[in-house]
């Protein structure tokens, strides 16, 4: 039996969380239902008519179906970046946790530096131009991988050091080559961290606004977050369309999270290394 005060505190916490997370979302949904006139009031009122469908059609068709292009670009960007991040970060974490050399300290410092030092935009653009990657989607994939790698490596390394070394050795005696050890034995055991990485990094990359803005100019290259600026300008902002756009581009990360939420719980309770 839980005590009365703890129930009260839990209820209060849940209520507070609801206010913080659900009310802004409700505001977005309500705005997406309004017409242009009512939305420009920007108040928390009930929509006067049902304009959602009109808004959606208009948002998607704007600027030669830019939102569709943006979704394709963002999907490619997110999937490619997260895939590379998971594989590379797990590999780096594996090597760092397993092979002790005198360079480990330096490597760990560089990884921390990657977390702490802010990215320098102009030199990066200059470098990308030199490599012929500026304004290319695969160039941005590499940027996202580089920016996300430190965090993912830290997550993986801590977890890999809890996997007993004897497991690697058993695999080596069973005839596994280094890549077999990694892909067939270690990587499957990393599933709980991999899920965490996928969720955190895909939400971050999908929602990234600044990096695509700097490194991926051009209408054909737009990502979803950049489409928000279609409906905002200095003198004229269509709030109903802006919020419809927000609603549309919030759905995919929400689905990712809802889907993986179950996986996270399953992964954590199964325990990676037990047995």
């Amino acid at each position: 039996m839980k005590s009365r005060p703890s129930i009260l505190i839990s209820s209060a916490a849940i209520a507070a969380t609801a206010v913080v997370f659900l009310i802004p979302f409700a505001f977005i949904v309500l705005m997406a239902f309004k017409d242009r006139q009512q939305s420009s009031l920007r108040d928390f009122s009930w929509p006067a008519g049902f304009h959602l469908w009109d808004n959606v059609v208009q948002v998607i068709a704007t600027r030669n179906w830019m939102l569709v292009t943006a979704f394709v670009n963002s999907a490619i960007l997110t999937v490619a970046s997260v895939t590379l991040l998971v594989i590379f970060a797990a590999m780096v974490g594996f090597v760092l946790a397993r092979r002790k050399t005198r360079f480990n300290g330096l490597i760990e410092f560089l990884i921390l530096a990657g977390l702490m030092i802010p990215p320098a935009v102009v030199p990066t653009i200059w470098l990308l131009q030199g490599l012929g990657l500026f304004g290319k989607l695969h160039g941005l994939v590499l940027i996202e991988v580089a920016y996300g790698l430190s965090f993912s490596v830290l997550l993986y390394r801590a977890f890999i050091s809890t996997i007993p070394r004897e497991l690697d050795e058993a695999a080596i005696i069973d005839g596994a080559r280094p890549l077999d050890v990694f892909f067939r034995v270690i990587l499957p055991l990393l599933w709980p961290v991999t899920v965490t990485n996928i969720v955190v990094q895909s939400v971050a990359i999908f929602n990234d606004f600044t990096n695509p803005l700097y490194y991926l100019p051009g209408n054909g290259n737009a990502t979803v977050q950049l489409t928000l600026y279609n409906f905002q300008s200095q003198f004229n902002t269509s709030y109903n369309l802006l919020f419809t756009n927000i609603l549309l581009i919030t759905i995919p990360p929400l689905l990712v999270f809802l889907f993986f939420n179950r996986q996270i719980v399953a992964g954590v309770t199964a325990g990676a290394v037990k047995g």
Partner: protein, 359 residues
């Protein structure tokens, strides 16, 4: 058919030498046990044979092939780890078939081999389970099964029973012994448990501080330990070691006495010994009997009555403690003066360098 030949094997980590020149020769089909205290290098030696540790010096041959630079997978060995090291994400079937899968063995051959190994170990009903759903003993079986499937020339066991409870350990020990008879493969087994060593081994290798102290059949090590270390390590309770002085030398005997030790003539190889030398007398606790006018006189400190035998801890007048294991139930009281005797041929004389002077 594969025996092993270890020639002057050395291993050092940085400047620290942990294996200091080990020579062992193992015949095909032998069950060899490495024993020694913690940190004596027995596990390191096993890992060197497995190929998990690089060999710093010397030569290791399996069969007639020098394998110093051969990858573990090509050495014809299989290893069972103390922690079992089963792959948690695979079923028992996949765990056992993993090596064959890596070797790209056809699926039907693989299936047959896994099922055959499961049959030998009587665990066909466990094949679809994950390691987490198994008990300790079952996991151990899977680990052994994984080794059998590889059909290795040499099985390596690294303290495989130390994670099991006492009753299960006895069962598994007998099963391992039976497995060895059935498979006829060479087995090398590392343990610190001398009961395992004595019961399983054809040949025991006693290691201390990275050096071989003695190699021999279990009973030979018990009856004729080569030096003080082996004498103290093999046998339970430990052999009593009492210091004494050589009084006189006869043909193949030495007469010795010491504080609390009456003069006694012990058979020994007397080469190089002189009256006045300090030697050590080793007597098994089981060799001592209560006897009036015995050569060891002291005061009872502690009595443990086990019914079938009685363990008596005695303090000699020199302050040295020793232990006697007496047959049957003896009612002795702490503080009581007792005297013990022993048959001279049950005592072993160790010279000042610690070497046993067996005849």
């Amino acid at each position: 058919m594969a025996g092993l030949e270890l020639k002057q094997l050395h291993k050092s980590y940085g400047g620290v030498e942990v294996i200091k020149g080990v020579d062992i020769s193992i015949d095909h089909g032998e069950f060899v046990v490495f024993v020694g205290p913690s940190g004596c290098g027995k596990s390191t030696l096993l890992r060197m044979i497995a190929g998990l540790e690089e060999i710093s010096g010397g030569e290791l041959s399996i069969g007639s092939r020098v394998v110093n630079a051969v990858e573990p997978r090509d050495r014809g060995i299989a290893m069972v780890f103390q922690s079992y090291a089963l792959y948690p994400h695979m079923t028992v079937y996949e765990n056992m078939g993993f090596s064959l899968k890596l070797a790209k063995t056809p699926k039907d051959v693989r299936d047959a081999k896994v099922r055959e190994a499961a049959r030998i170990l009587q665990m066909e009903h466990l094949l679809e389970r994950k390691p987490a759903q198994l008990s300790g003993g079952q996991r151990q079986r899977v680990a052994i099964g994984r080794a059998i499937v590889r059909q290795p020339e040499v099985f390596l066991f690294d303290e495989p029973l130390s994670n099991l409870d006492a009753a299960l350990r006895v069962d598994m020990r007998m099963e391992l012994s039976k497995l060895h008879q059935d498979l006829g493969a060479t087995m090398i087994y590392v343990t610190h448990d001398q009961v395992e060593a004595m019961t399983l081994a054809d040949k025991i290798v006693v290691l201390d501080a990275g050096k071989v102290q003695q190699i021999g059949a279990p009973i030979e090590l018990y009856q004729r330990p080569a030096n003080l270390f082996v004498a103290g390590f093999i046998g339970s309770p430990k052999m009593n070691l009492l210091s004494a002085t050589v009084d006189a030398i006869g043909p193949n005997t030495v007469a010795v006495s010491g504080k609390g030790v009456e003069r006694v003539e012990v058979p020994a190889d007397t080469t190089g010994l002189q009256p006045g030398d300090q030697i050590t007398l080793g007597i098994r606790p089981q060799a001592l009997v209560l006897r009036d006018q015995g050569s060891l006189v002291g005061q009872v400190v502690l009595v443990e009555r086990l019914g079938s035998e009685t363990n008596v801890s005695v303090n000699l007048s020199s302050g040295v403690n020793f232990l006697a294991v007496l047959d049957g139930d003896k009612t002795l009281q702490p503080g009581q003066q007792v005297s013990f005797g022993f048959e001279p041929q049950d005592a072993i004389a160790f010279d000042p360098s610690g070497r046993a002077r067996h005849l």
